[in-house]
Subunit: 253 residues, 2 copies
């Protein structure tokens, strides 16, 4: 049984609270948040605090807070020889510099408070300075997920960058698609099966092979026609994507 | 029972052959392809031809071929008072100008020959000039799909444009994400659950609300850091997406 203190009740924090609380291999001893209001929203059975100097003894302290807040909160924690980890994809171990035993516990997923997510299938990327801490992190990660990976800071940074492309930017494309539908009184729902299939397809064929569309075919007539229907940033994105796809496949065309 | 002649054995054509052949409400009378080789790949029970002047009598002739080939093939068909439809998202009814009875049968999905797809869930957008043809198309579409929409040429054009964003461009983002992983020796599979969740999320919250990431938060430190890790078209895309997302949410930041 690993005992945990969780700091943060945001999008990720609220999901981790549920996952740790549910796991039989974890004892969630305490949850910290800056505000009492946030703590009032969580399971009443879990002890809470708004004072970072009042944390109870635990095997591991998990900081599930935004990148910008990690350094300052980590500096406030008066913990002797305790393992402190953050959950960020972008920052290194050095943000926890005042803690001798430090690590990273990075679940690679997009979290909204309202989502229902199964942690078992979410990849968790771990990293630790010390061997004993690596083993604790491994155990903690495996207690809630079947997909645990040991990834160093440099790789994690790149993984997060790739995630920005496939998640944040893809979602923005959905937004632009929705805009086009709304402006032309077409139900955006018509695109759901296509969006789903595009995202599913890559499991069986690589995105390089899966590519279709006017740019992939070098269909300059359709490309020109579609460009005339766009303006502003949408046109700029259309042009840049077309260029990038044409470049990728130019030898085949 | 609607009798159908299908022209084309490409990505869409091969899926339509299966769907029509399977449907109890459709009699697939004949399949046309330019090459015998293509016809050799399909179900042996279905009559075939490579001669567009040798088509049998049917209620409807479905041209499942590329946009660039539609006009010329349609002109070759010697059919008197027969309903001829194409399956393109981008072109209008005028491409079938030599046929009095014409329409569109546009399944909104991305098709690869190797995919296993359930046609029942694929939206089919139909359009016809004449009321009696509209009813035939409606019946044909409903015989293989539960999601049938009547969409005019202008709306279909916009829908196809939106599809280019959410399918073709999103897939290219997956490709760029895969590139980043491969270059840094990280398994691209780690991103599958994230890609899936991003695509699924929009069914419950709109992409406008679902947006997360550095640009959404106005996190200029992470943005600058990630920009330094990129070059060329990838950097251009990162910059343009960041600008577009910042613009979308600027009033909130």
């Amino acid at each position: 049984m690993i005992s945990v203190v969780l700091l943060g009740t945001g999008n990720l924090g609220s999901h981790l609270i549920k996952a740790f609380h549910k796991s039989k291999k974890v004892k969630l001893l305490q949850v910290y948040s800056r505000t009492q209001f946030a703590l009032d929203q969580i399971n009443k059975k879990i002890p809470t605090t708004t004072d970072p100097s009042c944390l109870v003894n635990a095997d591991i302290y998990v900081l599930a807070i935004s990148d910008t807040g990690i350094k300052s909160l980590a500096n406030k924690l008066i913990l002797k020889n305790k393992l402190v980890v953050h959950t960020s994809g972008t920052i290194g171990l050095d943000f926890l510099i005042n803690h001798k035993r430090k690590g990273v516990f990075y679940p690679l997923q997009t979290f909204s408070k309202t989502d229902s997510l199964k942690f078992k299938k979410i990849p968790i990327c771990i990293e630790a300075d010390l061997e004993e801490d690596r083993l604790i992190l491994l155990k903690l990660a495996k207690s809630i997920s079947k997909k645990v990976y040991e990834i160093d800071s440099e790789q994690r940074k790149k993984l997060h960058l790739a995630a920005v492309f496939v998640n944040n930017f893809a979602n923005h494309l959905y937004r632009l698609g929705e805009n086009i539908c709304v402006e032309n009184k077409v139900d955006f729902k018509l695109l759901y099966p296509l969006i789903r299939q595009t995202a599913t397809k890559i499991k069986t064929i690589s995105p390089l092979e899966a590519q279709t569309g006017p740019a992939r075919r070098g269909d300059s007539k359709t490309i020109e026609n579609q460009r005339t229907q766009l303006a502003g940033t949408e046109l700029d994105l259309y042009t840049l994507f077309t260029k990038s796809i044409l470049q990728t496949y130019e030898q085949e065309l």
